[in-house]
């Protein structure tokens, strides 16, 4: 009796596990179904290559704005993030300072975009007087992607075998020479992957962007102008509800972009891990 009941419980458990996995797949399937089915047919060459005032209500200006803001963000965040990761993985000794740094990075990673947006608005837009501009957006986003860059660069640096560094030092190379000639080149694909991952975050980000770079639908003339990135455009057109077709098309572009970006990041990481596992023996 008891045993039978136990077996029933086992079966129910497996059913729940199986169902959960199916639901996970199902949700993704449903979302992709809508995006691809409703979005892709509405993506046209004109949609991608013209501005808002054309008959397509195109997103060319918005794509450019997105690229600008990615550029600004990376110029600020990549050096700081990579240097910070180098410090943590190559120089830092266990201690109070490192604990505080790590806590800060983890905390920054946990802060939601809306808080970044609010902070960027208070600090860059109002206090520093940068107004709603690509620069305000870039500064805000640089802080937002910093944890991503630091963490994944550190991961990449850690995959470089200690024996390489030892060999280099034993040949009389300085720590810095070893870093630039051995460690960084060996981890390069991993570092690239961390940069690409952060591009993915910037592309998908909306709350932190519209509160700092604004929502104006135009091609910004300079980095002191406001503008609208793809994700913000997606939000605006969903909120205004002016055209379902175009909004689905924007969604599809957004999802495809992010998927490609993440895939590229993963491929680069795989290249890195392969590099150190081949030719042994």
């Amino acid at each position: 009796m008891n045993r039978k009941f136990g077996r029933l419980k086992d079966t129910l458990g497996f059913v729940q596990i199986g169902l959960s996995a199916l639901v996970t797949i199902g949700i993704l399937g449903l979302i992709l179904y809508y995006i691809l089915l409703k979005g892709i047919p509405n993506i046209s060459w004109g949609f991608l290559t013209t501005g808002f005032d054309s008959e397509y209500h195109g997103i060319a200006d918005i794509l450019l704005t997105t690229i600008f803001i990615i550029g600004i963000t990376l110029v600020i965040a990549v050096p700081i993030g990579v240097f910070a990761a180098i410090y943590l993985s190559e120089y830092a000794k266990q201690g109070r300072i490192v604990r505080i740094i790590r806590f800060s990075i983890e905390s920054l990673a946990g802060i939601p975009s809306i808080i970044y947006g609010l902070f960027g608005y208070i600090f860059f837009v109002l206090l520093l007087g940068l107004k709603f501009s690509l620069l305000s957006g870039g500064f805000t986003l640089s802080i937002l992607v910093l944890p991503t860059i630091i963490r994944s660069t550190e991961e990449a640096l850690k995959t470089v075998p200690k024996s390489y560094k030892e060999a280099s030092l034993a040949l009389g190379a300085s720590r810095l020479y070893t870093l630039f000639k051995i460690t960084l080149p060996s981890a390069l694909s991993g570092i690239m992957s961390s940069v690409i991952l952060s591009v993915g975050r910037i592309v998908g980000e909306s709350a932190a962007v519209f509160m700092t770079a604004g929502m104006v639908y135009r091609l910004p003339g300079s980095i002191m102008d406001s503008g609208r990135t793809l994700a913000v455009h997606m939000f605006a057109s969903a909120n205004e509800g002016f055209s379902f077709d175009e909004t689905w098309a924007t969604a599809a572009v957004l999802v495809i972009l992010v998927a490609i970006i993440n895939l590229a990041a993963r491929l680069l990481t795989r290249i890195l891990s392969k590099k150190f596992s081949m030719g042994k023996g």
Partner: protein
């Protein structure tokens, strides 16, 4: 052949890792153009001793050293001693072959480049000479631009030796260089060591007592951080003076 002299003189060397003492009052001299083997059970301090000779122990934050290691009549632990010059003069080959994930050429050229050689022709010469010295030239001369990771383990280890030779050291430290190799590759490396001692001074840590007997001129037996016996290799293996040495080489412990 050059006349042999004491190239390294070690006086009262003590090494601590935090609270544990890894080396106790080591005082020995290493002769030039000879092979000195360090034997002893695991954890006896022979690798720590080896790493003291080019100050690789500096990489361990809690390591502390007292005593002196006189290389060319200068104490390498003295304040202000040029550690780059030290490591150029005292090269090191590690237990597992550790070529960089570069081409064969770039591996060998790495050291000279570190020390400022930029001339392409000069680098070519150094690479060729070093690979020949390491008895690897014939096997790789037609694929210098290939990745070093594609070489066999034995070839990789000889490449690592060539990489050390390229900076023209006086002394080469080897930390169980054949422990990751198969018997044939091991023999090749042993032959190489035999050749190399004509020009270099070699200090080698080995777990393999036959290897020590085959290749070394002098042997030091380490136990618990101390040198129990340091003799000509033939004497040490045939007539060990200390009971513990005899026990060890006859396989009674360790």
């Amino acid at each position: 052949m050059m006349k042999k002299y004491d190239i390294i003189e070690i006086n009262d060397l003590n090494l601590f890792y935090g609270d544990t003492q890894a080396l106790k009052d080591i005082s020995v001299n290493i002769k030039s153009n000879s092979v000195t083997a360090l034997i002893g059970p695991s954890g006896c301090g022979k690798s720590s001793f080896l790493k003291s000779l080019n100050r690789m122990n500096d990489l361990v934050p809690i390591a502390k050293t007292t005593g002196e290691v006189m290389l060319d009549d200068k104490d390498i632990f003295e304040q202000g001693y040029d550690i780059v010059a030290l490591r150029k003069r005292v090269g090191m080959v590690f237990q597992k072959p550790n070529p960089f994930p570069f081409s064969i050429y770039d591996n060998v050229a790495y050291g000279p480049r570190v020390h400022g050689v930029k001339n392409k022709k000069r680098l070519d010469e150094i690479v060729e000479k070093s690979l020949k010295q390491a008895a690897l030239w014939d096997e790789v001369s037609d694929r210098l631009k290939d990745s070093a990771m594609g070489l066999s383990g034995g070839q990789q280890q000889r490449l690592c030796i060539a990489r050390v030779l390229a900076v023209e050291p006086g002394v080469i430290l080897m930390d169980e260089p054949t422990s990751a190799l198969d018997p044939i590759a091991t023999l090749k490396v042993e032959d190489l060591i035999h050749e190399l001692k004509k020009e270099f001074t070699i200090v080698i840590v080995t777990h393999n007592m036959q290897q020590a007997a085959r290749i070394s001129d002098e042997t030091a037996f380490f136990l618990m951080g101390e040198i129990i016996e340091f003799e000509k290799t033939s004497d040490l293996f045939e007539n060990p003076k200390d009971k513990r040495t005899e026990d060890y080489i006859t396989g009674r412990f360790g």
